[in-house]
Symmetry: C2
Subunit: 430 residues, 2 copies
């Protein structure tokens, strides 16, 4: 086992790479990438880093040279033979050959496209432009690099044993969470913490601790590299970037209103079973459900990623019931702002009424709160999003106006088209 | 750095030796051994293991085969070339060639003598018989083996990450002690925790954490192997076994009364400076000081190892003052039952009045209290003592009747000879 504290302390390498592999990314990025490669291969998009926690002045904490070194290192990566074999041959969601040969051939030859980096107002402007299937693969490694370099800036000044104790405390903290989760009967929970993890080694440790501590209740990780190395299920379905880009490409309001369903129609053709999971909140959950075509009610489940999760789950249950579906057969995946307490509460409220599952992110892989002074290692709200497609801005509304993004005039247009009224504001921590 | 939890978890070795070297022992054993080699080389002694914590039923916890394997392994050890070079060439207490050539030649050829092992009433009877300089070297490794095997019996059933978290918690606990000690100005403290350590790797970790956390306040370790490996001062002077054996050899009451001073007269010939440390409590501190020859008042200091430490230090200060010595030049070393709280209190009471130093043992290297159920890893009071010399029983009174040992009739005789009356009972934890 890697002694994380010693590894952190030992800065002998010219570069200690933060991202070691193109599959050190979320499984759903690869699923979506294959879908985009099939359906929108030539769509030109722009992704951009957005730090929603302005108080964390990244450009003052992270050396630009080091950042470029890490990003350049990622551009040097290509799929290894073993990784390719695993993607081609492994069973994902009960299915072999999840990734088609044409996609794999393209992926095997892929190098990530160039990035554009500038400092502005104490923050980094980091953007990626080009063909959608290439650019989209920057999201997770870019976030992981920024999160980890910010952490290293704090860890750099610590002594070897101070570091040992820091990680000792973090381990203790995580284990106490594991012990809390153990008390929940029939829990199903996965690691969704790649993007905002403290570090790769730490995520790897957390995943292994969950495996030992939770046994069958721990159903897998979204991180492909860790899933491969640790013989775990790779978990994930799809994300907001699909409807956001489809919506941006819509020629008029009618096409815009259809866009979120067009995405899922494409997905419906490619996937079945537990991969048919609706992510309804991009332009407001209630409106999305109200206007959804009937075939969507036949999908396996829903993922709840913003707003009040209990409210959204109740809305989904009411919707399924109204459409003649039995909610008890449906899967509800909670994936927003989770920690032991609300996992337990949501489980208590919905277990038995639906099949409940949790995708646990930042508070699993990056909870160093209270372990160094001034919150120097606290997770913060960093995202890397599609901001335009074919020159048109993207928009996200979600069920929490604090998470909305896009130009104000476009936000207003989307709200009108999707019938989104007043929304409850919920503080975004991570 | 060794990942202790992983090492503990991984039981691939046929034998994972607990004692890896003949110098994995306390420095004072080697100093005393040289003295005994010079003055009482042929004295036949018997050492015996005594578990003062009867509730810990060692013979039920520890497999006899494993115990024999560890003890046999110790008998296979001999001084390595590097260890010999270090003992011969290193500066100890400011002096080179602390160990004379004739002693080193003898030590280089030494293998530890046979042991005798039996089970009785849920305990192990473990005895060593033979020439004093050989037998005495069993004390520390025998204790370390029993302590660690008892720990392993508990750790064996734990998972890999459960172990990681156990050690994470122990590290956090120790670091909090380090932070507590850091607040004490002009502290001088050494590791005296070899004999009752949780394990070798853990002692090594604790020593390194003290080095980083306390800087100049951490003055060294009693463990020779760790001192050598970590480039630290080896610390220690002498122990009760010298007066106990000298006393047992005394032909009559008058010789008995002289014995504790005869020991120090021999020591006086060999050592000076900070090695001239009185250990006055073997047959009662007050009586020892009252009857001490004047030349002893000229010694550098005193070590307080039983009874109420503040009372003993006050007695020493009064004694020095009465003998015309300035206590402010004298060293008082506290070494019994220490933890952060009483270290701070003793330092506050005596700093400035005398030179204060601490030899911190069990609560440094073996404080796992509260970390596993039922106190399964709590330290307990195990000793390995000279019980007879030339067929005569040894006796120890100390300043706490709970620590007294020897046949009752002999205890009464010693009390009479040394003028020891009622003593305050203090619970012996470790």
């Amino acid at each position: 086992m890697v002694d994380i504290a010693t590894r952190v302390w030992n800065h002998k390498w010219k570069i200690d790479p933060i991202v070691r592999s193109l599959i050190d990314t979320d499984f759903y990025k690869l699923l979506m990438c294959q879908s985009v490669f099939r359906n929108k291969r030539d769509t030109q998009v722009s992704f951009s880093l957005i730090n929603r926690t302005k108080s964390v002045r990244l450009a003052e904490l992270i050396d630009e040279g080091e950042l470029r070194e890490q990003l350049d290192h990622i551009r040097s990566l290509s799929l290894s033979r073993g990784e390719s074999t695993w993607l081609r041959g492994n069973m994902f969601y009960g299915k072999r050959s999840m990734f088609r040969s044409d996609f794999m051939e393209w992926f095997e030859n892929l190098r990530l496209p160039p990035y554009h980096l500038e400092k502005r107002d104490g923050q980094y402007e980091l953007t990626f432009e080009g063909a959608w299937p290439e650019v989209m693969l920057w999201e997770i490694p870019a976030l992981a690099v920024l999160m980890e370099l910010r952490g290293r800036a704090v860890l750099n000044d610590m002594g070897r044993f101070e570091l040992q104790v820091l990680y000792a405390r973090a381990m203790t903290k995580l284990w106490e969470k594991v012990e809390g989760l153990r008390a929940i009967d029939n829990l199903r929970i996965a690691d969704f913490g790649t993007r905002r993890r403290h570090s790769f080694l730490w995520q790897d440790w957390c995943v292994q601790a969950m495996t030992e501590g939770l046994g069958q209740s721990f159903v897998g990780t979204s991180n492909c590299l860790i899933a491969k190395n640790r013989d775990l299920e790779a978990i994930g379905t799809n994300a907001h970037e699909l409807p956001m880009v489809y919506a941006a490409l819509a020629e008029d309001d009618a096409a815009l209103a259809r866009a979120p369903y067009d995405v899922l129609a494409d997905w419906h053709e490619e996937h079945d079973g537990n991969l048919r999971i609706i992510l309804p909140d991009t332009y407001g959950t209630q409106g999305f459900l109200d206007k959804a075509p009937d075939w969507l009610a036949g999908w396996t489940g829903i993922r709840i990623d913003s707003g009040d999760p209990a409210k959204a789950a109740e809305a989904a249950i009411a919707w399924w019931t109204a459409r003649g579906e039995d909610p008890r057969n449906k899967l509800v995946i909670f994936s927003d702002g989770l920690d032991v307490e609300n996992i337990a509460a949501l489980h208590a409220q919905f277990s038995g009424r639906v099949r409940v599952s949790f995708g646990w992110g930042t508070n699993l892989t990056n909870d160093f709160r209270g372990l160094v002074p001034d919150g120097g290692l606290d997770a913060f709200s960093l995202v890397c999003k599609a901001v335009s497609a074919e020159g048109r801005p993207t928009v996200k509304l979600s069920d929490n106006p604090e998470k909305a993004m896009g130009p104000e005039t476009e936000i207003q247009r989307y709200k009108r088209v999707f019938g989104v009224g007043e929304q409850e504001r919920i503080e975004v921590v991570v």
